[in-house]
Amino acid sequence: MGYVAVKGGTEAIHNASELAEFYRVKDNTTPIDVKQIRTQMRLAIDKVMGEGGIYAPEYAAIALKQAEGDVYEAAFILRAFRTTLQRNYYTEEINTREMFVRRKISASFREIPGGQVLGPTRDYTQRTLDTAKATETTADIHLFLEQVDAKIDPEKLQEINSFGKVIDLLKNEGLLKPIDPSDDRKLVDITREAIKFPAPRSARLQMMARAETGGLMALGYSSQRGFGGVHPTVGELRYGTVPLRVKDASGRLRYIGKIEVTECEMVTGSKPGKKNTPPYFTIGYGLCFGHNETKVICMSTLDSAMRRPELGAPANDQEFVLYHTEGVEAMGFTNHLKLPHYVTFQSILSNTRASVERSKKANLEAEAWRQLASV
């Protein structure tokens, strides 16, 4: 290792990072097991993996622990880690029709093939603070698990299958607008090349799949409230596991495991194009790692919105949506204002002082003229 030049700043940053580490553990409690974070902070893990752009629950748990629970920071750590990994294969595209469904609902039809499957959702619970959680014990958990286990009929497990999709109903009836394939010909990899505008749909969807949930939510919500006026209906929202496959050297497909994803297909009315074209439905698409329904709902809303540019509607504006929902970049840049800017400030200061001087001088001259005129 070469000689490292050291100045006062180095000592300061070392001390500051040591202090941050001290704050993480200063109350001297039992360290949280990474396994506990992974299993009991399921939704936080899913957010971190989604925004970090890597499916690795265990690493996400470590990142969350390291970042004291800051989801943004944890996602950033994962992103940085991800770039150090060699990419040996590209998986074949996943087929959500073969999803092992854990939850699937449709808002557009009362009954759908396979029925509405509520699955694990907190949607229909009262959000009262459950103070009993403060004293939860391992025994409580065991008891609860046994009760759940007792309710399962092992024979029925065999019946669980994959399900047809709601959008297929619309497609078969010819209600969906035929997609112009020219937009989707080339699959862009946003991690390998900078996004260009207008961005193809593959790039838009990739950007949103890694985007920050809150950012997507703000813009998706703005679209629903009237800035752009997409009127979406959830065609189908599903959460479950899908198999992943890669092609080996001989071209054979190999199953390499499964991942959890949430998918949303949002039905919206399309803008009538040319005269006498019927107002078809279009599908806005959302897909993300893990279980994150807010994200896919907003993603699919924005996917629809971005396909119909409209003045004054941020959600319909590709550049606006994609640049500003990129959480890792947005967090980095907004926080960079903490860095010293005194040289640039000096530059503005010099201008402003000169400008104020000029204005003072001009006022004095004007005053002198007024006095001269009144004599």
Partner: protein
């Protein structure tokens, strides 16, 4: 026997993998070939925040070799906290020697300043760029600015400078003063003060600019014309330090930082920390010269 490699992670020399380094170098060659033109690139994530020097790091790490001597400054200072962090990162990932001495460095990374000492043909300086698009202040859409550059349609920019003059009696642009490179592209020189801007013109050194978050690279090759935008009758001006001098050395001919003491009293000090040290210890220095600095009579007396 299958080796358990879980949680074991080794980094490549200079952190970035070789194929991505190659991609960055290729894009840099393109940038050098078209001075002032912004070239999109992959901009992989770094373990450093976006907006905190990732673009500069990409260039540094793609170029650095084992024998390079690396210097990094922020606001002109070697001791600035973020510069210290990046210095340690580069050192940890390459083992390269680092230095404060401007004349000893082969590769200099900077944020918001050019060194006060003139860099030579054997040195490269890499700028961290927050906003690479000089036209962004007049046009918010990327697809439109791209077109404006392609057609060299810079009318909006000129109008905005004119409007500033009409309103405030001067072109109010502070740091990052827009420049015309090689008579073709308007370029943001990154937020360097106007004091540094003339030093880009016909320089001996290769200037490389990296905007990581915005995923753009650009360059000013040695001996290229770089002219600040100005009108025939309203000219580019550098910051005025004619009434101040460095409190440590009495030196006037350098970019100065304005300091305030506990009692509210104001004083100035040379911004470039290595230059300050050299002036303070009366070492030999070789400063940039340009017509703007030379014009200022107040700098006749270098030492007070």
């Amino acid at each position: 026997m299958v080796e358990n490699i879980k949680f074991s992670n080794k980094y490549n020399f200079a952190f970035i993998d070789e194929s991505t380094k190659k991609e960055i170098r290729r894009k840099l060659l393109k940038a050098v070939a078209i001075p002032g033109h912004q070239v999109p690139y992959s901009s992989p994530e770094m373990p450093i925040s976006r907006g905190w020097g990732t673009g500069g790091l990409h260039i540094t790490l793609a170029l650095i070799g084992r024998s390079d001597v690396f210097k990094i400054i922020d606001q002109g200072s070697d001791a600035s906290v973020n510069a210290c962090n990046l210095r340690e990162f580069v050192n940890a990932m390459t083992g390269c020697e680092t230095t404060f001495d401007t004349s000893k460095a082969t590769l200099v990374q900077t944020r918001h300043r050019i060194t006060e000492e003139e860099l030579n043909e054997n040195q490269i300086i890499v700028f961290q760029v927050p906003l690479p698009e000089p036209l962004r202040m007049v046009e918010r859409y990327e697809y439109k600015t791209l077109q404006m550059h392609a057609e060299a349609d810079y009318s909006k920019m000129w109008v905005s400078l004119y409007e500033a003059y009409v309103r405030y009696g001067a072109i109010m642009q502070g740091s990052g003063y827009p420049v015309m490179v090689n008579g073709r592209y308007i370029m943001s020189p990154s937020p360097i003060p106007r004091w540094d801007t003339p030093n880009l013109h016909q320089a001996k050194t290769l200037f490389l600019f990296g905007a990581g978050r915005e995923k753009r690279l650009y360059a000013v090759p040695p001996y290229t014309d770089v002219e600040p935008l100005e009108f025939e009758d309203v000219n580019f001006e550098i910051e005025d330090f004619s009434k101040s001098a460095c409190y440590k050395t009495g030196f006037k001919k350098a970019f100065l930082d304005e300091l305030y003491a506990d009692d509210g009293s104001q004083k100035y000090v040379i911004s470039d920390s290595n230059f300050l040290d050299k002036i303070d210890s009366e070492e030999e220095t070789h400063q940039y010269t340009n017509k703007y600095i030379d014009q200022l009579e107040a700098y006749d007396v270098e030492r007070g």
